[in-house]
Amino acid sequence: MSFLGYPRPDGSVGTRNYVLVIPQGLIAKSIGDFVAGVRTIQTVDHGSGRTANDRECIARVLIGLGRNPNVASVIVHAASPGVGYPELKTERLADEIAAGGKRVEVIDPARDGGVYGAIAKGIRLARMMVYEASKLRRVEVGNEHFCLGVKCGYSDTTSGIAGNPAVGYLFDKIVGAGGTCFFGETTEIIGAEHVLAKRAANPQAAKAILDAVAHREALAKSTGLDIRTINPVPANIKGGLSSLEEKSLGAIHKAGTSTIQGVLQYGERPKGKGLYFVDCWMGSLSIFAGYAAAGSNLVMFQLGGGGLAGRDLMEGCPSIVAPFLWCTANPNTFKMAQDNIDFYSGTVITDGEDPQEAGERLYRTVIDIASGTLSRSETLLHTDPIDLSLEEPRF
């Protein structure tokens, strides 16, 4: 019950060993273009015109990604002094990341000779930091150091029958070993919240689950629309799912059967270990950035794909800093996109494989990738900007 990882000063363990650049300006990307082993957070949202709650959410994600166990050290690119919002001040971001004990450096065009000077300093710093990080060696650690996050997407009926149950088995195994697991997507537990609330560790956690759903459902109703014109998404309906309730009841299988310790905000770090529900939107890159900000050292996308004709290349997102695994239980999806898929459990449907055996195979795959084998998506450089899960209107 162990994997090979990089121990960090705060006691967490990384499955990867990156230098992370946190930009307040797009030029920060230039550092990663020059230096190997660098990850750069790429988001289009820098807080402009956002409410204090949303700016705090952005700060939570940036700090959280900096503190992620897969990050060895961090460069923060300073905003222009005097014009930033208080929540996103460079010193605040740098100090809160450094509180975890890792090295944090700041590049600041106002002090470092302008934008060109700041890039030059950033490249020099990043080369040194990558070199220092490369001296670290993986060591064998217990599974209590796992922090997994999962979403299911392009769901079809194979998701609830064979894909999510394999992930659920893995979640139970990791939680049972003292590790941490996240599932989320509040819209996609509507119709299944009563099942989850019964599994809450205490009445407060049960109420938090029911409250999150009530809030989300009220927002959905306020649109005046039939939710089926929004979610299930067209690919879900094409894959055989007929209602949001059906989608939700299949979706919760990915969370296994363990006790739910509580509900976290998007990007919020849990106070303890175990299984947590994250109150957030479903967007693939958004949700994984939130899980990674909360401490995930590995994230998984459980793919249905029955409604995805011709999709033989799946996206990756290096800036999330957590290895991103694609799993599917749909035989047609697997055939179509085989070189993208890290784990396949359609055998539960076609060959009568026990879902627990499939879960055990998934467990071995996850141990292997956590210990250093690349996930399929990690072989891609392509990245899309992270769409942060912000809730409030812009002004």
């Binding site: 119709g191 005046g224 309906i237």
Partner: protein
């Protein structure tokens, strides 16, 4: 006549999920959730879609995983495809809000 397969998730369910492409007239062997049953498909049902295991009157609850996944929007025959044309979701229906209040 071909024999095809479908999976039922819970003994209380009145639909099963097809795991093969079903043609009209196929006998569908339904397993899981206890007993093995056989239902004759009355129409084509694609892989991963749902087949009705019994007559479902209009307005009746449709159950999968032992839970409610919606109501029948029209009467559904045993062996028929169950999907958005005859199954109505009941949650987060903003379009019904006004009507409920009247």
């Amino acid at each position: 006549m071909a024999v095809k397969r479908a999976l039922v998730m819970h003994p209380k369910d009145n639909v099963a999920t097809t795991v093969e492409e079903i043609q009209p007239g196929d006998q569908v062997k339904v397993s899981g959730g206890g007993e093995v049953r056989s239902v004759a498909a009355v129409e084509a049902i694609p892989f991963g879609f749902k087949i009705a295991l019994e007559e479902i009157p209009r307005g009746a609850t449709i159950r999968k995983y032992g839970e409610t996944i919606g109501k029948a929007g029209r009467p559904i025959n045993r062996g028929a495809l169950v999907h958005i044309h005859n199954l109505d979701g009941t949650r987060a229906r903003g379009d019904l809000e006004g009507r409920e209040k009247q």
